[in-house]
Point group: C2
Chain length 342, copies 2
């Protein structure tokens, strides 16, 4: 069995400003203070499953140098440079079409570059089982994370009936729910978080694209044949893989899910980072040389500074990078994007 | 009339950490964000009174390079490098002894390097009047600032009777008072803040030193004759000019004061800096590219950063320099020294 992996790394991560900027977004940052950026951690955990030669990264053309610097083992030809952001369907279709040329029967893992997995071994076990499944079945596997809270910030995957282990057929996808609905989902037990991690055979996904998005499929085909990426890619339909492939495929009973529990977080905001960091007795989590005095429930990322002293802050975000600094109540973090644009 | 000026620049300014550090203390910092450091502003306002060739700076030996860089017009031989801190009397005595060798009948202005004067023209007028006085009288003039509040952080000068303009004899000096006493001083009208700015003829002060501190006087004399500063200076008595000269001289009716009102502040803490900075409608004062959201009564100095966004802070100090950062309630500013030592 030959496996390839596609890391999607085109995001901008403006909610983590000033840590994450359009010039150097979150997936390239050591946001956990562990010595590895999120994309490096993503490559690390995939390395146990497929060789680095079979890794692909799709990113905006302005991040190609950063990807190459952070992941020098990935073949340069496998770093696909998007001249424009067209959402996930064109990105994934392009990568899979390239993989087919290199390896016509490859099984493929697709993953975001900026999520956190606390248990990489369990991640690898789940992915291996999914790869074995797609080796023998023309199905698409989406990894479903068992919810531990009624999260309203994620989409959900609904299984056909409850499943305790192994791969199960998917009934349908559900958009981000309101709190009441999210509570029902958690209570029901057959709803899982959609992590945006997919496993499939390259022929399965290209067939599906051909069936559900024939125009996109033929555009991608002629783009790859002609090499005219700069001209064609920006004209492709801006559409997510969920709308383009997963939803219609689920209606045709082609989608399966592997329920999983490997400490996944999409690390979409400061609260989810706070949750992943170690805390002191007052609930302060930090990356950098930070000392707290009468502070509680703060989340601090200032690894570029030599020394940070904080006094008298309860529930604040403090963050510094490359000469830009933010101090902001955690309750106001949805305004960070607006602050960064000032 | 030949005038010289002595700028005392040996202070460490630990209350402004991380802005001010033992390696680069407050007098060398552009703390007001006006493009000039405090010692440069001090030299600027003296320049209108006496030529730069007649300026002297006494500082710790580790700051000599900084002084030379910030005030390149001052003759290198006029930067006196203290091998150890011995308070103001040895510092002033040394400078005046050096001045006498160069200019045996000089009138001398002595000033700290780290105070702020908002009205330099009025400063120059007051100093010129004082210089004329010492040209013709063997008295010592200390500049007395008219108090605008019952400040407990300053020493006071008590005039013999009320004086509205010009130079008046001093009855006595008073140490930092408690609030009740300070209120009385302000109500009385014949008490002034002791700004530590002195004007005298070089012979007057050397005679006074000889009379009140004969041992120090002869040690300074032999130090200057022999050039053995490194050996002798550290053995000198650690004593302020107030105790060594001003107080005994005032008992001998040799001390006068020029009441003045030129927007003086010793800039001894963050609150006095806050007072001197321009404020927005919510009372925030800042140096640097700072934007405030729902903040009030903050004082911010972060001119080394490209951009600072603050949200939801009431009454805080925020300060950054050379990779060290402080966020601290203004009410806790007396603990900054302790924070800096961590």
């Amino acid at each position: 069995m030959s496996s390839h992996a596609v890391i999607m790394a085109g995001g901008v991560g403006s909610r983590f400003w000033p840590l994450s900027t359009p010039q150097f977004p979150k997936q390239f940052i050591d946001i956990l203070g562990c010595g590895r950026s999120l994309i490096q951690l993503t490559a690390d955990r995939i390395q146990g499953i497929c060789p680095m030669d079979n890794l692909w990264v799709v990113t905006n053309e302005k991040y190609v140098d950063i990807v190459h610097e952070q992941l020098p083992q990935i073949p340069v030809a496998h770093i696909l440079a998007e001249p424009a952001a067209r959402n996930t369907a064109p990105c994934i279709a392009w990568a899979c079409r390239m993989i087919k040329d290199e390896d016509p029967d490859a099984n493929v893992i697709v993953t975001p570059s900026d999520a956190v997995v606390m248990n990489p071994q369990e991640f690898q076990r789940v992915i291996r089982e999914s790869l074995e499944f797609t080796q023998n079945n023309p199905g698409i596997v989406t990894i479903g994370i068992r919810p531990n809270r009624p999260e309203t910030g994620y989409g959900y995957v609904c299984m056909k009936g409850k499943q305790t282990d192994g791969i199960a057929p998917v009934l349908e996808f559900r958009e981000k729910p309101d709190l009441e609905t999210a509570r029902q989902y958690v209570a029901d037990g057959n709803y899982l978080w959609n992590a945006g991690i997919f496993v499939w055979n390259v022929n399965t996904v290209l067939d599906a694209l051909d069936r559900y998005k024939p125009e996109l499929s033929s555009q991608i085909d002629s783009m790859v044949r002609s090499g005219r990426v700069g001209e064609i890619f920006p004209t492709l339909e801006k559409i997510s893989v969920d709308y383009a492939i997963m939803e219609p495929a689920s209606r045709d009973s082609l989608v399966f899910t592997h329920p999983a529990d490997f400490g996944w977080s999409d690390l979409g905001n400061w609260s989810s980072l706070h949750e992943k960091l170690e805390h002191d007795c007052e609930g302060n989590g930090s990356v950098g040389n930070v000392s707290f005095h009468e502070c509680s429930n703060c989340v601090v990322h200032a690894s570029g500074l030599k020394k940070v002293v904080l006094q008298g802050l309860d529930g604040y975000i403090v963050s510094e990078k490359d000469g830009q600094m933010l101090v902001c109540r955690r309750s106001e973090e949805q305004r960070i994007r607006e602050f960064s644009a000032e």
